[in-house]
Amino acid sequence: MKPFSRAKLLSYALTLALLSWSAVAQTQSKTLNLYTARHYSTDEAFYSGFTKLTGIKINRIEGGEDALFERIKAEGAASPADVFLTVDVARIWRAEQAGIFEALKSAVLTKQVPAHFRAANNTWFGFSSRARVIAYDRSKVSPGDIARYEDLAGPKWKKEICTRSSSHPYNLSLISSMIHHLGEDKAREWARGVAGNLARPPRGGDTDQLKAVDVGECSIALANHYYYLRLLRSAKTEDRALVERVKIVWPNQNDRGTHLNISGGGLLKTAPNRDGGIKFLEYLASDTAQTYFANGNNEWPTVKGVKLDNPALEQFGRFRTDSLPLAKLGETQAAAQKMADQVGWK
C-alpha cells in the first residue's frame, strides 16, 4: 500500500508541473519563434545580435528540417512559428509548394539577395551558399584532369571516386543541376558513369570522403566546400596535414560555374509576429549577419560585397558560380533520385 500512495503523490506533482509548463504563453510581439534546421555554435552570437538590435527575443527549435516542416503543416493556422529556416534548396522549394510561406514585398531583401538566390515570387530567400567541390589526391591527380563535374564520369577514374549516398540532398541537387544543364539523357549517362567509377559503395558523410582520399581509398571525392575549410581551420594537426595532401578544385570554371546550394527560409503565412519575422529575415541579409555566416560555418554570404573576415574563405578568392535559379533544383529533385536509383548510385 505504502509505495503505491507515494507513487500517486509523485504523479500528481508531476502532472501539475507539466500543465503549468505547457501553459506558458508562446506568442508575444516581443518574441520571435524560429523553427530552424541550422545548428552551428556561432549561431548563438548572431541570434543575440538580433535581440540586441531589436529587443526581440528569439525562441527556437533546432531540428530535422523534414520533421519541422511536417510540424508546421500539422499545426496549421495555429502554428506559433514565425520563420522557418532550413538547408538545401529542394526542401525550401517543397515548403514553398506546400504554400506555407508568405510572399514578401521587402525592398531590403530584394535589393540584398540576388535574384537566383531567392524565389521568383519572393516567398523564400537564400542567406548563405555552399559549393559542391571536387577533392583530389595531389600525388595522383593533376587538377587539369578533373576540372569539370562531367570529368567524374570519365573512364580514367574507374574505382577512384568516393562520394556519399545519392539520397543526400547535396548529391541530389548536383544531379538536378546536371539534368538542367545537360538534359535528362546525358545527365543519366553521367550519373551512370559516376556510379560505375565509385571505389566503394557510398557511405559516411562528406568529411569521411575527404579522409578516404587522404588515406588512399580513392583519389577523388565530392564534398561541400565548408567541410574542407573546417579541416583547414582545425586546431588538430592531423586535420591540417590532410589539407596539405588533399586539394580541391572549383569545378566548371571555364563554362557554367561551380554548383551551389543554399541555406535559407521565409516568413510563414500564419506567423503570429509578422513584423518581427520580416525584421529577422532582413537582419539575416544585413552585413553583420552575413559576416557571421561566412565566419561560423565557412559559407559564402549570398549578399554581394560583404566583408568576409575569414582568411580561409578569402584565400580561395573569387570563382565563377553557377547562376541557374536555385528554385529549378527543387523541381527536379524527385527525378534526380529516380535517376540515381536507376543507374545504381546507392
Binding site: L14, G64, P80, D208, Q342
Partner: protein, 562 residues
C-alpha cells in the same frame, strides 16, 4: 498467456465482472485508442492515391532493401539470442570468477545507443582510423593492398545492433532461468539428461517465452532503426520509407510502405503467439543453486560473459572518452547541465506514465475476455516497430486537428484567443514516447502479471476486495519488481530517443541525445562525443539500480531454498 488467465478469471466471476469491470474495460479501450491513433494515421495512407513512387521503388531499389532487411533481422536475431541466452545461462547456473559483477554489468550496453556505438566504432576502425593506421605503420602495407573487415556494412550494422540490443534477451532469459524450479531439473537429471541435454530439452523450452519476447523487442527496434543503418549506408526497408518521403517527396507512399512494415511485424507476432499456443508454465520459484566452475571452464565462462560488455560498452565508451579528451574544441559548461536536466525530466515522466498505462492495459486484458480489448492491446504495442520519424508525423497530424478544433471552440463560444495547447507541449512529447515505448513497459508488466497466480485473485476476491483494491493490495506488491524494470527500461529508451523528440519538443528545449545528434550530423563526431558520453553516464544510473535489484531478487530466491 494472459488470454488463458483472463479466461479463468471471467469463468469464475462472470456475472460480477460484467458490471464492475465495465469501467476498466472502457478506460483501457480509450487509452489503447489514444496510443493507436498515430498508427491509424500512418495506416490511413493506404486509401490515399500515391504517385508513381511505388512502381519506381519496386522496379529499382526495393528488392535489395527487403533482402537487406531480412538479412539484418536474421543476423541480429542470431546475435542477440546466442549471446543473450548463453550469458544468461552461465551467470544464473554457475559460479565463476567475476560472476557477481558480470551478472549486473551485462546490461550496461543498454546505456549505449546503437547509433552512438556506430559513430565510435567507425571512427576507430575506418581506413583513416587509429587501428588501421597503426596496422599500416607496423606492416608497411598500403590502403587497398590488404583486406580489413569493413565496419560500415551490413554485418557491421548487425554487430552494432546486436551489441546494443542483446541485453533485452539477457534480461528476460535470465529471469526465466531463475524462475525454473529445481524439481524440473532434478526430474530431467533422473531421466538421464546431462548438462547439455537439460539445457536443450528442459531449460531452453521453458524459457522460450522470455527469450522470444526479448528477441522480439530487439528485432522491432532493428526494424525501426534509421540512425545506425543510414550512417553505415546499409539500405533497409526503413531507408525506402525515408527515400519515398524525403527524396521523392511522396509522404503518402512513405506511409504506405510503413504500413507494410506494420503488417509484417503484426504477422510475425501473431505467428509467434500461435506457436506458443496455450502453453503456460507456472513452476514454483525454487531455483537451482548455481554450481561452481573451476579451471579453464571458470575462466572460459568469465571471458565469454565479459566479451559482450567489452564490445557493447567498454570499447565504445573508451573511444568516446578519447575523442572528448583529445578534442581541443570541447565545450563543457552550463549549457550541458541544462541538457542533463531536460533529459532527466522527460525520461522520468515518460517512465512513470508508461508503467501506469501498461499496467492499465495489461490488467484489463487479464480481467476481461473482450476480444476488442485484446485486439486493441496487440495493435497498441506496434508503435515500437515503426521508425520514430514516421510515428512522429503520425502523432503530429491528429494533435494538430485536435488543437485547431479546440482553438476554434474557445474562440467561438468563449471569445478566448489561444495558441496551441498540445502540440509543442511536454504533454504531447510524453504522449509520443508512450506511443513508441509502451511495448517495452507492456511486455514487462504483462510478464510480471502472469506471476500472480489466479488463485491469489480468487482469494482476494473471496475476501471481498474489489478489482481495484485487489490490484493495489495484492498485485502491486508482487509486481513491484517488474514495474520497476519496466520504468527503468522506458527511462533508458526515452533518453536515447531522437526522432520524436526532434519533431515535437517545445521551444528552447534540447536533450543530450539531440545535442549529440546535431553535432554528429554536422560531421563533428569529436564534439558529439561529450554529450553522448554524458548520456551514457546518466543511463548507467537506472541500469545499475535495475541490475542490482534483479541480482538481489535472484539471491533472495536462492537463499529461500537453503
Amino acid at each position: 498467456m494472459t488470454t488463458l488467465a483472463a479466461t479463468l478469471r471471467t469463468r469464475v466471476f462472470k456475472e460480477e465482472s460484467l458490471n464492475r469491470i465495465g469501467a476498466l474495460g472502457f478506460v483501457s479501450l480509450v487509452t489503447a485508442a489514444l496510443v493507436v491513433a498515430p498508427i491509424v494515421a500512418v495506416v490511413w495512407n493506404i486509401v490515399l492515391p500515391s504517385e508513381a513512387t511505388w512502381s519506381h521503388l519496386a522496379s529499382t531499389v526495393l528488392p535489395e532493401y527487403i533482402l537487406n532487411t531480412l538479412l539484418l533481422l536474421a543476423l541480429v536475431a542470431v546475435g542477440v539470442i546466442t549471446s543473450g541466452v548463453s550469458v544468461a545461462w552461465l551467470v544464473t547456473n554457475y559460479r565463476f570468477p567475476g560472476q557477481r559483477i558480470l551478472e549486473w554489468a551485462l546490461v550496461l550496453p543498454m546505456a549505449m545507443p546503437a547509433y552512438v556505438m556506430a559513430y565510435a566504432y567507425t571512427d576507430w576502425l575506418q581506413a583513416a582510423g587509429p587501428v588501421q593506421t597503426t596496422l599500416r605503420e607496423l606492416t608497411g602495407w598500403r590502403v587497398r593492398e590488404y583486406w580489413f573487415p569493413e565496419i560500415r556494412s551490413l554485418p557491421g550494422a548487425a554487430a552494432m545492433l546486436s551489441f546494443a540490443l542483446y541485453p533485452y534477451v539477457y534480461l528476460l532469459a535470465r529471469s526465466a532461468f531463475i524462475d525454473q524450479s529445481r524439481s524440473t531439473h532434478e526430474a530431467a537429471q533422473l531421466a538421464g539428461y546431462g548438462v547439455w541435454g537439460r539445457f536443450w530439452h528442459v531449460s531452453l523450452p521453458l524459457a522460450r517465452t522470455g527469450i522470444v519476447a526479448g528477441a522480439a523487442l530487439a528485432l522491432m527496434e532493428t526494424l525501426a532503426d534509421f540512425g545506425t543503418v543510414s550512417y553505415f549506408a546499409v539500405n533497409t526497408f526503413t531507408t525506402g520509407i525515408y527515400r519515398a518521403w524525403l527524396s521523392l517527396g511522396d509522404a503518402v507512399a512513405a506511409g504506405q510502405l510503413a504500413t507494410c512494415l506494420l503488417v509484417f511485424v503484426f504477422t510475425m507476432l501473431a505467428i509467434e503467439r500461435r506457436q506458443r499456443g496455450r502453453a503456460r508454465y507456472a513452476g514454483k520459484r525454487n531455483p537451482m543453486p548455481p554450481q561452481p566452475l573451476s579451471g579453464w571452464r571458470a575462466w572460459g565462462a568469465c571471458a565469454l560473459c565479459s566479451a559482450p560488455i567489452a564490445f557493447g560498452f567498454v570499447i565504445p565508451a573508451a573511444i568516446l572518452l578519447k575523442l572528448t579528451l583529445t578534442n581541443p574544441e570541447v565545450q563543457f559548461g552550463a549549457h550541458l547541465y541544462g541538457l542533463v536536466f531536460n533529459t532527466f525530466i522527460l525520461a522520468g515522466i515518460a517512465a512513470v506514465a508508461a508503467v501506469a498505462v501498461a499496467l492499465l492495459l495489461a490488467y484489463a486484458a487479464r480481467t476481461l475476455t473482450s476480444p476488442l480489448v485484446h485486439g486493441a492491446n496487440r495493435v497498441a504495442v506496434l508503435g515500437y516497430a515503426l521508425p520514430g520519424a514516421v510515428i512522429a508525423v503520425g502523432i503530429l497530424f491528429p494533435l494538430g486537428i485536435i488543437d485547431n478544433a479546440v482553438i476554434a471552440l474557445l474562440r467561438e463560444y468563449f471569445g478566448i484567443k489561444s495558441g496551441l495547447l498540445l502540440t509543442g507541449s511536454l504533454v504531447a512529447l510524453i504522449y509520443a514516447y508512450l506511443v513508441r515505448f509502451l511495448t517495452v513497459a507492456f511486455q514487462t508488466v504483462e510478464a510480471g502479471l502472469t506471476r500472480v497466480t489466479p488463485s491469489m485473485d480468487d482469494a482476494a476476491r473471496s475476501l471481498g476486495l474489489s478489482p481495484a483494491r485487489t490490484l493495489v493490495r495484492v498485485h502491486a506488491p508482487i509486481m513491484r519488481g517488474s514495474m520497476a524494470t519496466a520504468a527503468l527500461l522506458v527511462f533508458v529508451d526515452v533518453m536515447k530517443e531522437l526522432p520524436a523528440t526532434f519533431a515535437m519538443r517545445p521551444f528552447n528545449f534540447d536533450t543530450l541525445a539531440i545535442e549529440a545528434y546535431n553535432l554528429a550530423k554536422d560531421e563533428r563526431i569529436a564534439e558529439a562525443a561529450l554529450p553522448a558520453l554524458v548520456m551514457v553516464a546518466i543511463a548507467l544510473v537506472p541500469l545499475v539500480l535495475l541490475s542490482r535489484q534483479i541480482a538481489a531478487s535472484a539471491r533472495r530466491s536462492r537463499e529461500n531454498i537453503h
